[in-house]
């Protein structure tokens, strides 16, 4: 059966070069990189090599890289670690309203400890404006974090300008690069950021490895204590195999990025052009001019996201959605809501993240299958029935809301 894997934001296939680099450390080279005896030699050399390769990918120095187990951990370390190390200077943290939960949730914990959080709004295409950021900064702001690109709507932020605003106020600037690395060139020196996180998966490396770049001289409190690893910034014996795979993947990505991006841009452009010719009542979300290659986010009106995903899966197509039903939390995407999309439309979101191996055939398969799937679901939809009768499909009755109920249910999980 024809299939198309369009959910690279969730997981990406491992590069053969990464797998090869990992294998010795899943076998005979089991040693601890911290050991004095010879069993530690190759693992240590692998760590050093990977650190240099990962640093080179983003124009950093090896010393700037802290390895973690995931981008979520890197974001947690950046947010909590930077905030805690600077708490004597102030208690305010400024972030965009569309950050990943691995930035937003640590902020909630910090809120309990007396920090206050300011969210900078985004415009309708998900862009954070530098003047809005400047306006949000307070006298006791100690950290700013704005992601490089949004995983859900694909919008690339003006990180260089945003970081310059923070620099003007002498506040450290962190950026979550998960959706950007491996898709656009990243130069942390050129962007002039103080901290930058991304996972190995962004460059087709393995799960279990990620990096936090810290500019030289950036002080950070460790979250995992009890060892000297990663220069006391992250205790625990390193996941040598995953990190070795990360390094190899970063080296491949550095060489192949232009080729990968050109293919992704071409394929996504086909979807942007051809889908509206085949399907009515769809709205693309996110910026069209400043967008990561191979990312398509679209609202397919009058059908619910999870129902679309299940139907697409029956056709071998893997995608994602920001609808509340498809989320384990049962909450609609905070990203789409922050962009001003009503709940009713956020329920109909479809997110496609193509990858380096995606082909024209994959795109054709998707373009062939989504219209009949949508047609079938719309024939079942009372909202579409309203539209056909000339009524307002999204008309609400008094009391039509359920955010509290969903939060309550999520608590029970």
């Amino acid at each position: 059966m024809a299939y198309a894997y369009f959910d690279h934001a969730a997981a990406a296939p491992l590069l053969p070069e990464a797998r090869e680099a990992m294998l010795p450390f899943l076998g005979e080279e089991f040693g601890n990189p911290a050991s004095l005896h010879s069993f530690g030699d190759k693992p240590r050399a692998a760590l050093d090599g990977a650190r240099a390769q990962v640093a080179a990918l983003i124009n950093a120095q090896p010393d700037n890289i802290v390895f973690t187990a995931s981008a979520s951990e890197a974001n947690n370390l950046a947010i909590k670690g930077l905030a805690l190390s600077r708490k004597a200077k102030g208690r305010n943290i400024v972030v965009s309203a569309i950050e990943h939960v691995s930035v937003l949730e640590p902020l909630k914990s910090l809120g309990v400890e007396g920090f206050d959080i300011t969210e900078v709004p985004v415009d309708a295409d998900g862009t954070v404006h530098p003047d809005k950021l400047a306006a949000a900064i307070k006298t006791d702001t100690i950290l700013v974090s704005v992601m490089h690109a949004n995983y859900e709507v694909g919008t690339i932020q003006k990180v260089k300008e945003l970081a310059a605003v923070a620099r003007r106020f002498r506040i450290p600037f962190h950026s979550d690069g998960t959706a950007a690395v491996g898709r656009i060139p990243v130069d942390v020196v050129g962007l002039d950021v103080d901290a930058y996180s991304f996972p190995a998966m962004s460059v087709y490396g393995p799960k279990g490895a990620a990096a936090l770049y810290l500019k030289r001289g950036t002080r950070i409190s460790s979250l995992i204590e009890g060892g000297f690893q990663e220069k006391n910034r992250r205790a625990g014996t390193e996941n040598v195999a995953a990190i070795a795979g990360f390094g190899a993947a970063a080296a491949v990505a550095k060489a192949k990025l232009p080729e990968w991006s050109a293919n992704l841009t071409k394929l996504a452009r086909r979807i942007f052009k051809e889908l509206p010719e085949k399907l009515e009542h769809i709205v693309f979300t996110g910026s069209m001019s400043s967008r990561i290659p191979g990312h398509v986010s679209v609202v397919v009106e009058f059908v619910e996201g999870e129902a679309m995903l299940l139907s697409l899966d029956d056709e071998g197509i893997a995608a994602a959605s920001g609808s509340s039903c498809s989320a384990k939390t049962l909450k609609a995407s905070h990203v789409l809501l922050a962009m001003g999309l009503p709940h009713t439309k956020a329920q109909s979101s479809l997110v496609l993240t193509l990858g380096k191996d995606s082909t024209d055939e994959d795109v054709t398969h998707f373009l062939d299958k989504l219209p009949p799937i949508t047609q079938r679901l719309r024939q079942m939809s009372p909202l579409y029935a309203r539209l056909q009768k000339g009524e307002d499909p999204y008309a609400l009755k008094p009391g039509d809301e359920c955010a509290d109920e969903h939060e309550h249910e999520a608590d029970e999980l």
């Binding site: 619910e304 996201g305 299940l310 009713t344 499909p393």
Partner: protein, 153 residues
Amino acid sequence: MYSEKVMEHFRNPRNVGEIENADGVGEIGNPVCGDMMTFYVTIRDGILTDVKFKTFGCGAAIAVSSMVSEMAKGKTIEEAMKITNADVAKELGGLPPNKLHCSNLGADALHKAIENHLAKKPATGEKGCRCPFCDTPVEGSSICVPCKAQGKK
């Protein structure tokens, strides 16, 4: 994530559609929540001779609607009113815990459609009074004996 039976009903839902001039219409949920179900019933001599639905919602919501329509069709009003959301989930071979509340509202929508029908009926007709729960003719009391025995009032 879903049982085979849920997926089978999601892929081939029974009784999708609307009934023109339906005897009763019941709607539950709203598009803000992500789940909305509208049920239509035709009732002849106290029996649900036709049940149709339209649903906006996740896979579970569509499967639940389909299953409810199948369970209710051909039943008496009394029997249909006894179908619970839990019965529907059980018939479907279970639902994921996080879907039990938000998507499993089919029986409620069906009951609303039946109640809508009963509310439309005049209190007295040619055949005299009828029980509001099961539509059987009654004398004296406004609720029939079986419904009263179930504690309905």
